[in-house]
């Protein structure tokens, strides 16, 4: 299924991926061939089939007790932070 350049640009934007113009063409081609390939799924008769939510049937979500188990470890957690000040993660100014 052929995707247009505009579609690739939209997808890249939604996914917050910056692509160079040369890359755009490459992805346009490979994504188009992926969707050709994936089109095989249309061969399946899926009427009256429920989508698989989880690989193991009959499982349900366990409920956790409402207990505080965590302590303040922000210094350790922020060791990997690229930009931190006064305990806050910094990003370019967000205007609302």
């Amino acid at each position: 299924m052929a995707l247009t350049r505009e579609q690739i640009e939209n997808i890249a934007h939604l996914a917050r991926l910056q692509l160079q113009p040369a890359e755009l063409a490459v992805y346009q081609q490979s994504l188009s061939s992926i969707f050709d390939f994936v089109g095989e799924l249309n061969k399946a008769d899926v009427t009256s089939v429920a989508p698989m939510a989880h690989p193991l049937p009959g499982q349900s979500q366990r409920l956790r007790a409402d207990v505080v188990t965590e302590t303040d470890r922000h210094e350790i957690n922020q060791q990997n932070a690229p930009q931190v000040a006064a305990g806050l993660y910094l990003v370019p100014k967000v205007i609302e």
Partner: protein
């Protein structure tokens, strides 16, 4: 003493019998890792000092008669598992500076059983790949022929064991990433039932498909490690609360009467003729052991690759959204604004295959396409799972080839993603249905290993390991080591 060719089980005995110390053992493996890193590139991070310190402590424990089943034994972790205080990169530029503040549950469990982490294994970036050619840290090479790929995404883990750089390595499997490299490298690999092993700390690629497992030189070793790393984890909602059997104790149960199903679809075109001969020879061994073989069909199985390449990218596009340059990982320099921060950090941090899958996933979930792709793929997935369930009504396990061919040259399939994706054609079904599956070496074609795949119903790991062990008692494929690494 060639301790590097001994199995984990043998090494554990040797340590207890004081034939060697943990320090000697660990140092020996570290030297091998260092020696072969330039040619094989199996590791991202090597932990010489910490491992030797741990080995010294292990020797004290062993001397005092303390310790667990894995005390003093070296292990390598795929660089997808978070290791506290240690670089955890997922083979990606995005995380090439990420020091994890916590241990994955798998890592913690093996550590408390006494295992010593000697290195973090190289891998396809974010577990996406079947040849270990997408790693930011360069490709990993197959020890049987270094011009060839080792398979992926757990290429580093498979090579570690194949070249005897460590007796075992953890690995992960989302579409075949344990079994396929194990097959191409001539070693034993097991992917457990979905939910058997905790995913907490195992950096997510596709949440409903990922499972952590091991690569070893034998089923017996795999049984030992599986026993230690499996089990319910309250930190993982998809972790199953079912007791872990003693897989080691179940290894020697008699095989006779085992009903083996041969998947008609597995033997269709695409399978190399020589590879097929090796598989049939292996099946003959099973017949000699008293197993009964019959043909079964999973008619929807051919749709497993297209279904996978909708579901896995969809989940990964969401799982990888957290990599945005804000709290950890690669951050673009001097971002103009927030949008620039996101787009450049992610554009620079991720490699091509990862970006391709993120975009595929974003598309299949997007407005107007959800029903046609994602929903449909999840329905096909249910059909495939139903096929397997039906088959297991008549047979105990399914067997067949793990891969269509033996290892292929680096660079061979990188230009067309579909060709690469088809490497997973035999393995993906088990991930979609959450079933346990193994690959064990069963012969050679042109000097390159061939893997036999064994798939079982949910929570039949014991049966798989037992069947694999029976084969490995009759044959010695699993003991073969490539010449330069003997």
């Amino acid at each position: 003493m060639k301790t590097h060719t001994l199995s984990l089980t043998q090494l554990a005995k040797g340590l207890r019998a004081k034939e060697y110390s943990s320090v000697e053992l660990v140092r020996g493996f570290l030297d091998r890792i260092d020696a072969h890193q330039p040619t094989l590139n199996a590791m991202v991070t090597i932990l010489r000092e910490p491992a030797l310190v741990a080995a010294q402590a292990a020797d004290k424990d062993l001397a005092a008669g303390r310790g667990g089943p894995l005390t003093g034994l070296p292990i390598v972790h795929k660089d997808l598992f978070c290791t506290e205080g240690v670089l955890t990169t997922c083979g990606s530029h995005m995380l090439d500076n990420f020091v994890s503040p916590y241990d994955a549950t798998v890592v913690a469990k093996l550590k408390s059983a006494g295992a010593i982490t000697v290195a973090k294994a190289n891998m396809d970036e974010f577990a996406m790949g079947s040849s270990n050619e997408t790693s930011y840290f360069g490709p990993v090479r197959n020890p049987w022929n270094t011009d060839l790929v080792p398979g992926g995404s757990s290429g580093g883990s498979a090579v570690t064991v194949a070249a005897r750089l460590a007796p075992a390595a953890t690995a992960t499997d989302t579409g075949g990433s344990i079994r396929q490299p194990a097959a191409l490298c001539g070693v034993t690999g097991i992917k457990p039932t979905y939910g058997r092993v905790s995913r907490y700390g195992m950096i997510a690629f596709a949440s409903s498909l990922d499972q952590g497992g091991v690569i070893t030189t034998s089923a017996a070793d795999a049984a030992l490690l599986m026993r230690e790393m499996s089990g319910f984890d309250p930190n993982d909602s998809t972790s199953v609360d079912i007791p872990v059997p003693d897989y080691v104790a179940e290894l020697d149960a008699p095989l006779a009467g085992l009903k083996i199903g041969l998947l008609k679809e597995f033997f269709d075109t695409g399978l190399d003729a020589e590879n097929e001969k090796r598989i049939r020879d292996a099946l003959a061994v099973y017949e000699r052991l008293g197993a009964k073989i019959q043909e079964v069909s999973l008619p929807n199985l051919p749709l497993s690759v297209p279904a996978y390449y909708v579901v896995a990218p969809a989940e990964c596009s969401s799982n990888l959204a957290r990599f945005d340059g804000v709290r950890f990982g690669h951050r673009a320099k001097d971002p103009r604004d927030l949008m620039d921060l996101y787009k450049r950090s992610r554009g620079e941090g991720f490699g091509a295959e990862v970006k391709r899958r993120i975009m595929t996933g974003t598309y299949v979930l997007s407005a107007g396409y959800y029903d046609a792709y994602y929903l449909k793929a999840q329905k096909v997935r249910q059909l495939i799972a139903d096929d397997f369930k039906r088959a297991f009504g008549t047979v105990d396990v399914l067997m067949g080839p793990t891969t269509p061919t033996a290892a292929f040259p680096l660079g061979d399939k990188t230009s067309d993603p579909i060709t690469m994706y088809l490497n997973d054609i035999y393995t993906i079904g088990a991930n979609l249905a959450g079933l346990p599956a193994m690959s064990i070496p069963c012969g050679f074609v042109g000097g390159l290993p061939v893997g036999l795949q064994i798939v079982g119903p949910h929570f039949s790991e014991g049966k798989l390991l037992n069947a694999a062990h029976a084969f490995q008692r009759e044959t010695d494929w699993h003991s073969r080591v490539p010449e330069p690494f003997k």
